[in-house]
């Protein structure tokens, strides 16, 4: 399968993270087949698709929690397919798992400390995370179970950041969070990227993904149905790839120019996620959804 923009990128150097022809099974069920992708330094690569498409499986396999049946995972040119997850983390592949997965009996600061235990040298420290999320310092001794969903997501991201990763894997950040909270969290991505990180993210919220990503791949039932830059994709093509409809007649024609960098209208593309619209773990009452200073 040809990947658009390949020819341009090739001149920019080797990809930081590469997956070649990955096939992954859950027992007898084939979750992914023949997946390939390349993530170059400094970019944001998004993987979209409906529930059960295999997005999280892909991320988990890259992080090392799942062993592929065939295929390879390459990091900075080296084959890491057989490497244990904790070794990948210390090499620089750090994942923020789906559902936050904070350490429930540990406080906020302790969660961050655990993340920093095997950290690589780099710009991110617990202090810097506190600066990024202004509310965290005062609440640093609280047990994470008492935080709202958005706050927990911030702590989970912070825990990954203090390890000073080179590639940050974000698994379904928006799950269970109100849209406004999701936007804020994604808004911080630019600050994170500014420190030299590369991001590979999985998202059910298609509009959000298309807004932040420099390149996108869509999965359906374990296979790649679409890949490209958000600017080149029309809503119809994304929708068709997302749901697996037949190729539309004018599929290739009206790509390009018209949309430029415009956000894809979200109305037709709200992902059919249970709880996608509901905010779980939201702090009730008041308006103090404080995610950053001011």
């Amino acid at each position: 399968m040809t990947v658009p923009g390949d020819t341009e990128r090739a001149e920019n150097g080797t990809p930081l993270l590469e997956v070649r022809d990955l096939t992954v099974h859950h027992g007898q069920l084939r979750a992914l087949e023949g997946i390939s992708l390349r993530v170059f330094p400094g970019e944001v690569y998004a993987i979209i698709g409906a529930n059960g498409a295999g997005k999280s499986t892909l991320l988990r396999t890259i992080a090392g929690l799942h062993r592929p049946t065939t295929g390879t995972v390459l990091f900075d040119g080296r084959d890491v397919t057989r490497l244990r997850p904790e070794r990948r983390a210390t090499q620089g592949i750090v994942m923020v798992p789906e559902g936050r997965r904070l350490f429930g009996s540990l406080s906020v600061e302790e969660n961050l400390k655990v993340g920093a235990t095997y950290a690589r040298p780099g710009p991110w420290t617990i202090e810097r995370v506190y600066e990024l999320f202004g509310w965290m310092r005062e609440r640093s001794n609280q047990k994470t179970a008492q935080l709202s969903g958005g706050e927990q997501q911030s702590v989970a991201i912070g825990r990954a950041l203090v390890a000073n990763p080179r590639v940050l894997l974000l698994d379904e950040l928006s799950l269970g969070l109100a849209p406004v909270v999701v936007q804020r969290i994604y808004g911080m991505l630019s600050q994170i990227l500014a420190t030299g990180l590369t991001v590979l993210l999985v998202e059910q919220d298609v509009s959000q993904a298309l807004r932040v990503a420099s390149r996108v791949q869509c999965l359906l039932e374990g296979r790649t149905t679409l890949e490209g830059e958000p600017g080149d994709l029309t809503p119809e093509r994304v929708e068709a790839a997302y749901f697996g409809l037949g190729e539309t007649a004018a599929g290739g024609g009206d790509a390009g120019g018209g949309n430029g960098g415009q956000p894809v209208p979200s109305a037709g593309h709200r992902s059919p996620v249970p709880g996608g619209g509901q905010a779980m773990g939201q702090s009730s009452g008041g308006g103090s959804e404080q995610l950053w200073p001011g």
Partner: protein, 291 residues
């Protein structure tokens, strides 16, 4: 007055039980392993201490310094090899393997040391003397010391778990093993540390028991294992101080049973244990319910 004496005796014995139990609680809490050989390890430590003392003639208290670290190291190795392999397979396998180890250890001791009971003798007045409170209450020094040691050990463990890097890692791995891996922690190594702590504390308990009472090859399962587990369950999993409470409740129940009928001491403890298992399996201090 006999009752007051009995209750005090029961409370102090609770310290010994807590010392036995904290390792069991740690292994179960962190890696979900019920080490059915736990009691036998205490007995092994006692026998090794006897052997070391017999051969080198060092003072009894020095045997602690030698045996406890060795047992801790043994714990790490056993965890990384056999117990981890069993864990990778299934919970059922860990039960079978630790049960097998228990049987092998006991019969090995039986084979090499015969069924005779042994004790760790010492010249220290500490072991044999007791002091009187008022005119009717008599308390053995050794038991008080053991209780104090238990409290110190529990304090030490509590501090280790809450304030040190590995203590944090142990709690993190216990909460969510995968998330800990993603943070760069090799959980097998962390499990090994927890097992080392468990084996070390149970060795401490075993040698103390050898000074306080007598050791036989079957003491591990006859006496220690079920009492240790009773202390953990009654007190509630997940709380070290709960383990002390559980030990105390067990000890007191046993002494009350003995007051009613001298041969019902152990039975009374078991009945309380069963009652807690049936009515409140999460224990006295836990707020969660066991699903």
């Amino acid at each position: 007055m006999a009752w007051v004496n009995a209750i005090i005796q029961g409370v102090l014995t609770g310290g010994l039980y807590a010392l036995f139990a904290c390792g069991l609680s740690l292994m179960f809490g962190v890696m979900k392993v019920v080490n059915l050989a736990h009691g036998d390890l205490a007995v092994v430590a006692g026998y090794v201490a006897i052997g070391v003392i017999t051969v080198t003639h060092i003072p009894v208290l020095w045997s602690f310094l030698i045996v406890v670290p060795v047992m801790a190291l043994l714990g790490y190795v056993l965890q990384r090899t056999i117990i981890q392999s069993a864990l990778d397979r299934s919970v059922l396998t860990t039960l079978i393997v630790t049960f097998g180890l228990s049987v092998v250890i006991e019969n090995g001791l039986l084979q090499f040391f015969t069924a005779n009971s042994r004790a760790i003798g010492t010249e220290l007045a500490l072991v044999r003397d007791s002091f009187k409170v008022g005119s009717q209450i008599q308390i053995g020094y050794l038991l008080v010391v053991i209780f104090a040691v238990a409290v110190v050990v529990l304090l030490g463990l509590q501090y280790f778990l809450s304030a040190s890097k590995y203590g944090r890692l142990i709690r993190a791995v216990a909460d969510d093993r995968e998330a800990a891996q993603l943070a760069g922690a090799d959980y097998r190594h962390v499990f090994g540390i927890a097992a080392a702590l468990a084996f070390g504390t149970v060795a401490l308990a075993g040698i103390s028991y050898g000074m306080y009472s007598q050791l036989q090859p079957t003491t591990g399962t006859d006496t220690i294992l079920l009492f240790a587990f009773a202390a953990v369950v009654i007190g509630g999993l997940g709380s070290l101080w709960g383990t002390l409470l559980g030990g105390v409740v067990l000890g007191v129940a046993q002494q009350i049973g003995a007051q009613i009928n001298i041969s019902d001491e152990v039975l009374a403890g078991y009945i309380v244990f069963l009652a807690v298992l049936v009515l409140r399996p999460q224990g006295l201090t836990s707020r969660r319910t066991q699903s």
